[in-house]
């Protein structure tokens, strides 16, 4: 950078100076193109392929690029390996700014080129790294093979060799392609073309119909023959610990309000007894009963549910189902407590999407594991937790508006799935 870009200005007027400039160009470009040090950066699947490419089998060292620098100040190349989320975007821009020029960017994988698998119905993924930083080379694939990455590296090398100090490297500009919906774009353009074609062809078609009234296409699409396979009976998995019926009856003896969710008319006991062996017992509990039940099943010697698998929720029109999945390490049985939380519709309609609609008691003092899980439920559904020590958003920014896993969630950046 810097000094050599003045070389043409100073040397060109001198006779023969042109050749000196060309020679400088050649040497500098040769050095730059052959010594590309990447930055250690990776967020997801592509990072593993990037690592594979630097490992013994593929060995990026052959290109002189095995010097993965963890500090951006010593790197030349930014391999964007893995999905870029909106939360990560500022960090990526900062990293790019910290790389001293001339710096190059390879967008590796579908996620960084266009959003990849996360284009539609997504509120958190940046659709393409071009939105954030200028990208030099695109390597499609999900994830690309190490060879594909090498091909990208060679493409970049060719690109660097084209630079001269008369036409030096300069910082590019990011381009806004965030709202690009290639599917709809292509479909709309085509629809317009089709209308035009219909108009043009109308006559010809009518004529053709007159001439060949009983036209039959000679093209017969051949369906691929699919292999025939036998029906196989499902063998349910083994069950350990108490049966569902035993669990349910014991729980019911203590808490008469518990039920199971069913559409049939049979008595609840029969429904429970007919459950397949490998389906966990899922009982509906009322909010008042929830905390006592959790305490009971944790401490009771017969239940001994000491292991929390997961706390999650499901959003329905007028209520949330919060499911607490518990397991007994000693006995091996599982029980799912489904807590129905009615949505608080006293909140004005236009504020509902951004406010907490229901509150449940926190069980984080019984299960430390629940602390983070409940934060996740709070973050995704907007269910508050009484007695939670640290109720903050966990996956999204603290100023994110709305709760994404609700069915009525909207986000300005979200594009609906077209198909």
């Amino acid at each position: 950078m810097g000094i050599i870009n003045f070389a043409p200005k100073i040397l060109d007027p001198i006779p023969g100076g042109k050749y000196v400039v060309n020679a400088i160009d050649y040497v500098v470009n040769w050095a730059r193109a052959n010594s590309i040090w990447p930055l250690t950066y990776g967020t997801s699947c592509c990072a593993i392929e990037m690592m594979s490419s630097s490992m013994a089998r593929y060995d990026i060292a052959r290109f002189g690029s095995e010097v993965f620098r963890s500090s951006p100040r010593q790197a030349d190349l930014f391999i964007l390996a893995g999905t870029i989320t909106r939360r990560m975007a500022p960090a990526i821009q900062m990293l790019w700014e910290q790389i001293p020029g001339p710096k190059y960017v390879i967008a590796m994988g579908a996620c960084t080129i266009s959003g990849g698998p996360f284009i539609y119905d997504n509120y958190s993924v940046v659709r393409g790294a071009q939105n954030l930083i200028p990208v030099d080379v695109f390597v499609p694939g999900c994830p690309p093979r190490p060879e594909a990455l090498f091909h990208g590296l060679l493409t970049l090398r060719d690109k660097i060799l084209k630079e001269t100090c008369r036409n030096p490297w300069h910082e590019g500009e990011p381009r806004d392609v965030s709202t690009m919906d290639r599917y709809r774009e292509a479909a709309n353009t085509w629809a317009a073309l089709e209308r035009m074609k219909d108009e043009e062809m109308a006559e010809a078609r009518a004529k053709f119909k007159e001439e060949n009234p009983d036209y039959k296409s000679s093209f017969k699409p051949v369906r691929i023959k699919k292999e025939e396979f036998p029906e196989v009976e499902r063998i349910p998995c083994k069950r350990f610990g108490l049966t569902q019926a035993e669990l349910f009856n014991k729980l019911r003896a203590k808490f008469p309000n518990v039920t199971v969710h069913t559409h049939s008319e049979d008595p609840i006991e029969d429904v429970v007894a007919q459950m397949p062996a490998d389906r966990p017992l899922e009982v509906m509990v009322t909010p008042e009963d929830y905390l006592p039940i959790v305490e009971f099943v944790k401490n009771d010697a017969e239940f001994k549910m000491d292991y929390l698998i997961e706390v999650t929720a499901i959003d329905y029109d007028d209520h949330f189902d919060m499911v607490t999945q518990l397991r007994s390490m000693d006995h091996g049985h599982k029980i799912f407590l489904c807590l129905q939380l009615k949505k608080d519709f006293s909140i004005e309609e236009d504020k509902r999407a951004t406010s907490i609609l229901a509150t449940a008691p926190s069980i984080s003092h019984l299960y430390p594991a629940a602390e983070f899980k409940e934060r996740e439920v709070y973050d995704m559904f907007g269910i508050g937790f009484d007695g939670h020590p640290d109720l903050r958003r966990i996956f999204l920014d603290k100023d994110f508006v709305g709760f994404p896993l609700r069915k009525d969630f909207t986000h300005p950046e979200m594009i609906r799935r077209p198909v």
């Binding site: 997801s44 093979r145 196989v232």
Partner: protein
């Protein structure tokens, strides 16, 4: 300190100056985009607060508008180190819903690919553990054998990482004829290679110094925090879904669940290495018993689930991977799919483990927890 940043809770009197360090989201040893806020006194960590969400991709939201088959493809991208195991986790839940079984040959294929995936993941762990301790060579050794697994997976499924292979009732393809000989050759090769690698790392005095007694997670804490997989087993709990709740044909396999009792970094390392050996044992049994004849998948049916909630759990290399499918209407789209990734509780327990240790130990502990961040954030 008058006002602590969010998440920090310990109040303490101190005469020395505390300071805060941000580790990540782009840091060579956080295994992805994880940010750890450290409260330090000199080099000693007082408290740690993990910040997630730097790779939160909204997979669960997206799944609601996808068909079940498309979700299998998406599940590859959660725990990308063993995508093949995620596939199975989803597929078992779907099979429960569709109430279809799996022919015997397919069960063998499943078990073999599961174990190959487990070995692949543990080899990455082996590499990263050595690499994070400062031995770069280890990293390459781990990946060297992993490439052979990738090769087998590519031949069988068509892709190195994102396999998208299993389908309800079977799989995308039958295995090629070369599959069994290749796996056999691989297991034989790995036997020799592992003995070299164990000689390389297991008895090294610096490794022992760095990992024995570091990051102890007691049995009670491990259960309370919901840890699973090798982390739980290293704390002395004999819990493996393959034994505790067998799926596929794991109940016919003869293998041991390695358990260690100290709960420190070295035990977690030891358990994983022992698991590689157990996986090789299972692979050898499968090679011997592999049925030559027979259908490799059940009758193909459209993937439609009746109304209900379906739950499946499998043991991936990291631990308990549970899929919870809610079908509110009979159809090919889920109402909601929730995944329980094993790494999430491990990071939740991280704060408990690192307190009072040095910043170098944090790297060791994080390496032995072997988290995959996209699986946490989803």
């Amino acid at each position: 300190m008058s006002q602590l940043p969010p998440g920090f809770r310990i109040t303490r009197e101190t005469n020395t100056e505390e300071f805060f360090i941000n580790m990540g989201p782009q840091h060579p040893s956080t295994h992805g985009a994880l940010r750890l806020a450290l409260r330090m006194e000199g080099e000693t960590i007082i408290e740690l607060v993990p910040h997630f969400g730097y790779i939160h991709r909204g997979i669960e939201k997206q799944a609601e508008s996808m068909s079940y088959l498309q979700y299998i493809a998406l599940s590859d991208r959660q725990d990308y180190l063993t995508a093949i195991q995620n596939n199975l986790g989803v597929v078992i839940a779907l099979e429960k819903g569709m109430n279809i079984g799996v022919p015997e040959k397919q069960e063998y294929i499943r078990v073999m690919l599961q174990e190959l995936g487990r070995i692949a993941s543990h080899l990455v762990f082996f590499g990263c553990f050595g690499g994070d301790l400062g031995g770069q060579t280890c990293l390459l050794f781990g990946f060297k054998e992993r490439e052979m697994i990738h090769d087998i997976l590519e031949e069988v499924t068509g892709s190195r990482l994102t396999t998208n292979y299993f389908r309800p009732g079977g799989s995308r393809f039958d295995v090629p004829d070369t599959f069994i000989p290749r796996v056999k050759a691989f297991v034989d090769h790995l036997e020799g290679a592992m003995s070299d690698y164990e000689r390389f790392l297991s008895k090294n005095i610096i490794v022992l110094d760095r990992s024995v007694g570091i990051g102890i997670l007691s049995k009670e804490d491990a259960i309370a925090y919901g840890c699973s997989g090798p982390v739980l087993r290293a704390s002395g709990v004999n819990f493996d879904v393959r034994r505790a709740n067998p799926y596929s044909i794991y109940d016919q396999m003869d293998f041991e669940v390695p358990v260690a009792y100290n709960g420190d970094c070295y035990d977690r390392y030891k358990v994983r290495i022992a698991e590689i050996h157990e996986s090789m044992k299972i692979l050898r049994q499968c090679i011997d018993k592999f049925p030559k004849e027979g259908a490799w998948r059940a009758k193909e049916k459209p993937v439609r689930l009746p109304v209900g909630r379906y739950y499946s759990e499998i043991e991936t290399a990291k631990g308990l991977y549970a899929t919870y499918v809610v079908a509110a209407t009979t159809g090919e789209k889920p109402y909601r799919i929730h995944t329980r990734g094993p790494s999430f509780p491990h990071i939740a327990a991280l704060n408990k483990m690192v307190q009072g240790h040095k910043i170098s130990d944090l790297v060791t502990i994080l390496a032995t927890l072997d988290p995959v961040i996209p699986e946490i954030d989803r």
